[in-house]
Symmetry: C2
Subunit: 76 residues, 2 copies
């Protein structure tokens, strides 16, 4: 089975990488880009029957820094 | 309107970051993790009426390195 985890910076946490992308898009002539946030997506190939709780534990322990990042787990 | 772009390394392209995560999960006692691929997710806040074609163009020009990465656009 597969799981996909999205890790994004929490709202209010400064995202310089996203800000750089926003600026670069403007430079390239793309108008109307009001904001950009960049995060990580992690695709896991797991043993069948792995529970969502286990994936949440992986996020808490390793995949996300829960002080500044939020995560979202999706089982595929 | 919002758009979400997923950028992943193409199959066959080595992903050392994903490999490091896989190894670390094993070290933490999570068994049965057969593979990990790590990519980027970019959330764009766009002017209303921006077409998917425009977002694809952003990907081609800036957001993805299409030699080694594939992208997927989702309008929200």
């Amino acid at each position: 089975m597969k799981a996909r985890v999205h890790v994004m910076l929490k709202n209010g946490v400064l995202d310089p990488q996203g800000e750089a992308v926003r600026h670069a898009l403007g430079t390239l002539g793309f108008d109307g880009v009001d904001g950009v946030r960049q995060g990580k997506v992690i695709e896991l190939e797991l043993a069948d029957g792995t529970s969502e709780a286990t994936v949440n534990e992986m996020c808490e322990k390793l995949l996300a820094n829960t002080v500044i990042e939020s995560y979202q787990v999706e089982l595929l």
